[in-house]
Assembly symmetry: C2
Homo-oligomer: 342 residues x 2
Amino acid sequence: MNSFSIGVDLGGTNLRIAAVSEQGHLMEKVTLGTRVALGKDHVIHEMCDAIHLLTAKYRNTASLQGIGIGVPGIIDMKTGTLRESPNLPGWAESPVQAQIERLLSTRVILENDANVAALGEKWLGAGRDVDDMIMLTLGTGVGGGIVLGGRIWHGMTGMAGEFGHMTVEPEGPPCGCGNRGCVEQYASATAVVRMAKEAIASGRAPELASAANSDPEFSAKAVYNLAIQGDEEARRIFGRVGRALGITIANLVNAFNLPMYVIGGGVSSAWQAFAPFIFEELRQRSLVYAATAPSSLQPGDHRATGQIAADGPTRTIVTLALLGSDAGLYGAAQLPMTPGRQ
Amino acid sequence: MNSFSIGVDLGGTNLRIAAVSEQGHLMEKVTLGTRVALGKDHVIHEMCDAIHLLTAKYRNTASLQGIGIGVPGIIDMKTGTLRESPNLPGWAESPVQAQIERLLSTRVILENDANVAALGEKWLGAGRDVDDMIMLTLGTGVGGGIVLGGRIWHGMTGMAGEFGHMTVEPEGPPCGCGNRGCVEQYASATAVVRMAKEAIASGRAPELASAANSDPEFSAKAVYNLAIQGDEEARRIFGRVGRALGITIANLVNAFNLPMYVIGGGVSSAWQAFAPFIFEELRQRSLVYAATAPSSLQPGDHRATGQIAADGPTRTIVTLALLGSDAGLYGAAQLPMTPGRQ
């Protein structure tokens, strides 16, 4: 009998649930809204009902391995407790894993959302040919995940991969974390909008000003649209996105020397506008990158290269994520399939 | 029969060889000069003669596990080739490991000197109660080593741990590696002397100027001596050392979330002068440190704390190395003892 598992992406806005086969085939995907206002118990019951329906449909033809759930926030992996989660108000210090296991009588693994995205890209996306990789997820904030030897690297207390709060400019803009000049202050959707508003306020960005005036939900996407139309100020903003990411990735390459660094999340759709600046910074700032860069290739394009030799990779690849918003769903589904997992 | 191994610290100036028991007891240490000018073959023969004498003395009472050699430079771990080494001119691209194995008919493991220092501190020094740690070695440059699960983490091509070239100030002083504002430009002995000379040139450091004038070998140690005597400019220089280290360690804590970060090397003897600035930066710049700092303790003092609980460590310790210049010797000796090593 084939086996499958359930992957859940439990965000502050959307709740998505997928049945995924052990080969990584998406069997079915269900999308619900996360009705945060109705409280934790309501959301968990609604989620468990949907999971129950989905597993009932497939359990005659395949055996259920378990349920993996990606959530935004800090998780105590030993107890399955959600310690804090800004996007799920009222969920702090909840033993979420135990509650769901009781409701479903099935093994449940809770994991940070940026970590499951990294695991999904490792399993079925950009990182499928490497064992070790880092992923940066550029969304409202900047999240990160580390995969070593095919598994999520949690660090001592489950907080490894907080790349979004690595310092780019010691005296840069203040960040909610208490630091200044975090990469999140340059490379998140929030930062793109802030930089656009700063440019508008300075009076030197008429196109951005008119876009912001005509669009009450002026977003990073609107800034990107102007950048690809050639607007200088919008392009300059994505230059700052790329330079900040380049400094951060150069630091990561110098520290970890991994074969792959994957960039995903909503802002990564502006790859064309910021990626050249990443590679420029990387070449100048990382002696490890300089020694291992895939020199004869298009930056970011590793698939046609055969760079990954039989005795292991020897080139540092920095590339766009492939799975979009499904990375987290696949990664969550993979959690119960990992052999020897505690 | 007990077993022992030979650890070698092959530097550009000194060649030190130690016989170390499997329990980590130093049986005997031999110090020679590295006569680099006489060429690679001469140095290797002299080293092998000394190793031969040392092993002959002990092999009736203990069995030799092998020989570990720490060298400055980049090593191809698969072939045991020294790819480049600025401190050992003429040794680039040498199959050093094979040559020594032929001469001694014993298993030889070549390893980067900063990596063996980290392994030594893990085995017998500051990191002996943790499995995962990072070490920064502040010498002429700034070296680094990563130990994960009790073993050196090499990364893809053996270049992991190049912390010295992580960016602190994107527009800071140029570094030989091609980057600007590397931590090595603030926290190495070379950088301390450069900053002192800059202060002297600015005319605002009369004490430093008179120390430099009276001492033809004006060094980081001389700057430290003035700092502990209260000289403002000398203290300001060690403030910059500490702040740059603090930013770098904050970035490492946010990325790796390890239980321990150890600072060694010659400049670390100025710990009193720079450490307070490290902790100030760490508290402000790392949310991971803030969540895991040993709050009720003297910073840096972890030994009396019992912080390392039975189910693993939960606190982030930043502390001074304990083994001084012997860390590399012990770490090199430990290399052949690591079970399952390739």
